[in-house]
């Protein structure tokens, strides 16, 4: 039995290795520390891990190659996504530190799982093979299933984790079936040609149009599987329940990170590799995007729970970012990247405010409990105002710029009517973002809502994300520039 051992350059997945190593270290170190000690070092270790990962990822900027048996692409696109995910994760770690402080839930597992999830998301961004995509997807999904149910004393948390897990497994099965169909049609799971195989991209170039039917069915199932992760209608049903039950910092991370990782894969897969098949996947994604934008916006209007409201808002945003993907042009690519990077920061900020007010017991998460917040906590209310305005897409916030870019891309690609529907949906969405503001500013309440968390770390997360939301809404040149240079793929 003879075979060629594959060339392995571990540098390609350096950031991921850093995260996984840190996670293992965390687990072992923590196992030797006696119970009842202050566990500040967990967050410190995790932060260091993410710092190393960011440095390693940033080092890959400018490279363009395929490594690890052509399964991992190292390019600017992957680097952009990896860095953003790591930043989201660091903010989540800091927020979680104050959230978990001195509680029985503050355990190494929480941070380790966060590190694993981030590693999976990063791998997702550079995966250049369907098997690798699936592996990455499962790495972060399984970590998140556990994190969603991490509030062990809370039935709601347990229930939401169970639902997320069952439906996630369901969706993974479809995704796998899609991979199988693609493999059956093309004989490969690799994205790019080279190394003796032609890859999916190569297959599309060399095959006649009539030969792609089976491939198209497979692609349909890939849309289904990835649509579940980004919470696109009709694969979104888990979202409100999981978002509501999960610990608030984790909810923020899911909204920011999962969406970015899954959309990154979709961008690489659909806009680059399957670009010749766009006549087939576009109609489906258009239908999904329209349903997602409208249903998310409409259903958010009647939510009374802030976390559920943000869950529906995140569904709607999945639809908005899909318009950039559907455009399938350079502006759409860079626009989507910009959109997701800024949306991630904004939504993390919004959940940070929710976390600070709700605390570990997750109280005061109804809209009514925010009554008159402005008069109690003007800065917190001000930050939340900024996040809401950004999510609504009001000028001078990063959300406006993102919407402007993706809708602009859709118009450039000739899908102006999709942009019009998108804008209609954002008008509907304005209703419920405004509702939050009305409650905070225009209704008085004598209960005097006080934050459940007063830690400096959590407050600094609110401050940092608020600053980012504002600054990126005014000075958006540099980030857009980076996003544009990040559309350099291995292709």
């Amino acid at each position: 039995m003879e075979f060629e051992a594959p060339a392995v350059q571990l540098g390609a997945i350096g950031p991921e290795i850093a995260l996984v190593t840190t996670a293992l270290l965390l687990l072992i170190v923590d196992a030797f520390i006696p119970e009842g000690e202050e566990r500040w070092y967990l967050a410190v270790l995790a932060t260091i891990g993410f710092g190393v990962a960011i440095i390693l990822a940033a080092n890959q900027w400018g490279e363009r190659e395929l490594q690890l048996a052509r399964m991992v692409a190292v390019d600017n696109f992957a680097t952009f996504v990896k860095t953003s995910v790591a930043v989201f994760a660091v903010l989540t770690v800091w927020l979680s530190r104050d959230y978990l402080k001195r509680s029985e839930d503050e355990e190494s597992e929480f941070y380790a799982l966060l590190l694993f999830a981030a590693a999976g998301m990063m791998l997702m961004a550079s995966a250049a093979d369907l098997i690798m995509v699936f592996l990455a997807l499962e790495i972060f999904s399984i970590s998140l299933y556990v994190l969603v149910g991490f509030r062990r004393r809370s039935l709601a948390s347990q229930e939401s984790a169970m639902k997320y897990f069952l439906l996630g497994a369901f969706s993974s099965a479809f995704f796998l079936m899609g991979i199988a169909l693609v493999y059956g049609a093309t004989g490969t799971t690799n994205f790019y040609p080279g190394g003796g195989g032609e890859g999916i991209a190569g297959y599309l170039v060399s095959s006649a149009a009539s030969d792609v039917d089976l491939l198209v069915l497979g692609v349909g199932l890939l849309i289904v599987g990835l649509g579940f992760k980004i919470a696109a209608v009709p694969f979104h049903m888990w979202t409100p329940d999981a978002y509501q039950g999960a610990p608030s910092p984790i909810t923020g991370f899911m909204a920011a990170g999962t969406k970015f990782a899954a959309v990154a894969t979709m961008l690489r897969l659909f806009v680059v590799v399957l670009y010749p098949l766009r006549a087939d996947w576009r109609p489906i994604l258009i239908a999904v995007a329209i349903a997602t934008m409208l249903l998310g916006s409409v259903l958010a209007v009647i939510q009374e729970d802030v976390k559920r409201l943000l869950a529906y808002s995140s569904i709607a945003h999945a639809g908005f970012v899909l318009t950039g993907l559907i455009a399938a042009n350079d502006r759409g690519l860079s626009g989507s990247l910009f959109y997701l990077a800024t949306y991630g920061l904004t939504v993390l900020g919004a959940f940070a405010v929710v976390t600070v007010l709700a605390g570990r017991k997750e109280r005061n998460v109804t809209l009514a409990s925010y009554r008159g917040l402005f008069y109690e906590r003007p800065l917190l209310a001000g930050a939340l105002t900024l996040f809401m305005l950004s999510l609504a897409g009001v000028p001078l916030t990063s959300g406006f710029v993102g919407k402007f870019l993706v809708f602009g891309a859709a118009i450039q690609a000739g899908y102006w009517w999709l942009a019009v529907i998108g804008m209609l949906a954002s008008v509907i969405a304005t209703f419920f973002y405004l509702r939050v503001l009305v409650v905070m500013y225009m209704q008085e309440d004598d209960r005097g809502l006080q934050p459940a968390i007063t830690g400096r770390l959590a407050n600094s997360v609110v401050g940092l994300t608020a600053a980012a939301t504002l600054v990126l809404g005014i000075v958006w040149g540099p980030l857009i520039d980076l996003a544009e240079r990040a559309t350099v793929f291995f292709a």
Binding site: E2, A5, V8, L24, I28, F32, S210, D213, L214
Partner: protein, 121 residues
């Protein structure tokens, strides 16, 4: 290949689904309903159902141990193909397997320190 030949199957699926749904709906609509406790019990074949598996209790720890066994057992299975292909993989294979074992070991230490192997608390 083309999918034209599968269209009849699609129609068949749609038709059979419709038929099934319709017949359940119709029978629930036109059939008389006079429920009694006896009729509502499952396995209504003259046998009174007794407490099934839900009444027999055994410690959840069995699951934990079984799981741990399976995880470590299956992972060591990877050692066999490596041993067979050892000549081809050379030093690189040795290092890789070292990393693999190290991760396994880390997991083992973790399980041990967290009390996963204790039978009695």
């Amino acid at each position: 290949m083309t999918l034209d030949s599968y269209v009849p199957i699609l129609f068949l699926i749609v038709l059979s689904t419709l038929f099934a749904v319709a017949s359940i709906w119709v029978s629930s609509r036109i059939g008389p309903r006079a429920p009694t406790p006896a009729k509502l019990t499952p396995y209504e074949s003259g046998i009174v159902p007794e407490g099934g598996i839900e009444k027999q209790r055994f410690p959840v720890k069995f699951y934990l141990v079984a799981m741990l066994f399976i995880i470590f057992d299956i992972e060591t299975v990877f050692l066999y193909p490596w041993a067979v292909a050892y000549d081809n993989l050379k030093l690189f294979g040795l290092i890789e397997m070292g990393v693999f074992i190290a991760i396994l070991l880390a997991a083992y230490v973790y399980v041990w320190r967290r009390g996963g192997l204790e039978w009695v608390d």
